[in-house]
Amino acid sequence: MGYQVRLEVFEGPLDLLLHLIAKAKINIEDISISEITAQYMDYLSQMQALDIDIASEFMVMAATLLHIKSSKLLPKPVQQSEEQEPDPQQQLIERLKQYKKYKDAGEWLHERYMVYSNMYSKLPEEVVDTAEDVKFSNVTKQDIAQTMMALLDKKNTSQQSQTVVRNIKPEPISLHERINQLAALIVRRGKVLFSQLVSRKFSRLYVVVTFLALLEMVNRGWVAVQQSRPFSDIFIQRKGLKWKNSR
């Protein structure tokens, strides 16, 4: 990577315009279209110079600004009717005012989030009927397997239907990292289910990366995978020489 240039990043053309207005220390109502347009174009050309992709929205706004500017220079056409088009400059001002409201509300939300995401709740207590004794005398290994399966099933369905509490953190994760993580897990466990690698607290991206990591590991001959039927869980097992002595 070469040198880095800091260029302020804007959420869109409206955001950029608000920034220019704030810099000029004027009210939204008092914008001078020709000045703002010049500055706006200047910013776009800086972006171009830095080879930054300019989203089409920025270009559309540039066209709007130029249109307003040119229409101001031209003599006003003879008023044909009272119901003419609304003044584009006034429209733009309205949009900016609307946008600013939500931008400010977003800032308010940010402050709240930084406070209230610090609240923690606890897991429900398990209420068990202690009157009943634990007897494992007639429980078989099949029962254990069935219990585990039922748990995984329950988890899957609750995942589908659940609409509440789900905390997801951004996980910047590389394929390479994920392969290392999976390898570490498989050294420990020997075998694992795909569903166990991707609990519901993870994002779709994370699931995809995990799956790619798994494919790569299959490709390298590190693991064997089995899936009994389409969409069922994938059973993953250590395979090959890689794991010898690493236990």
């Binding site: 959420e11 929205e57 946008y99 939500y102 995401s117 609240m119 509440v164 789900r166 951004p170 779709r204």
Partner: protein
Amino acid sequence: MEEQQMMAIAEAILFIAGDPVPVRSIAEVLDIDVDAAQSLMEKMLEAYALQPRGLQLIRINDAYQLVTRPEYGEYIRKFTGATKEQPLSRACLETLAIIAYNQPVTKADIEQLRGVKCDHAIAVLLEKNLIREVGRLDAPGKPKLYGTTELFLKSFGLSDINDLPPLEQQQGS
């Protein structure tokens, strides 16, 4: 039953439940009517707020939950090893603000207000379960309508959606 005792029972129940408990359930357990339970819980909420404690009572719509106070989050994370919640991006915050104040609202409405595409922000907010689809607009293409979730209320310390400050007030800055 004495009020204080009822509060104690409610506290025990909230502790056992962990999750938000509907005021209806509290009324049932205490064998009082829902209105009485509601006012009991509001009193309890105030009492909690006044005490210098590690816990607080919050209301989310019609349910109450015991949670730790936000100011001690850092200590909780030290204890549990959890990582701090990442701040939301500005794109997400703006999109969320628009949805919160205008729900139910379509993607097109949001994009019109923000002046940029919002697919990514919407996807992130959906995944974080801060917003959800609440239906479809009866218009060509049947666009999806978005609204906020209970988790949104909780994450931003709001009891219900009317707790949001009026939009105009912010304009001062």
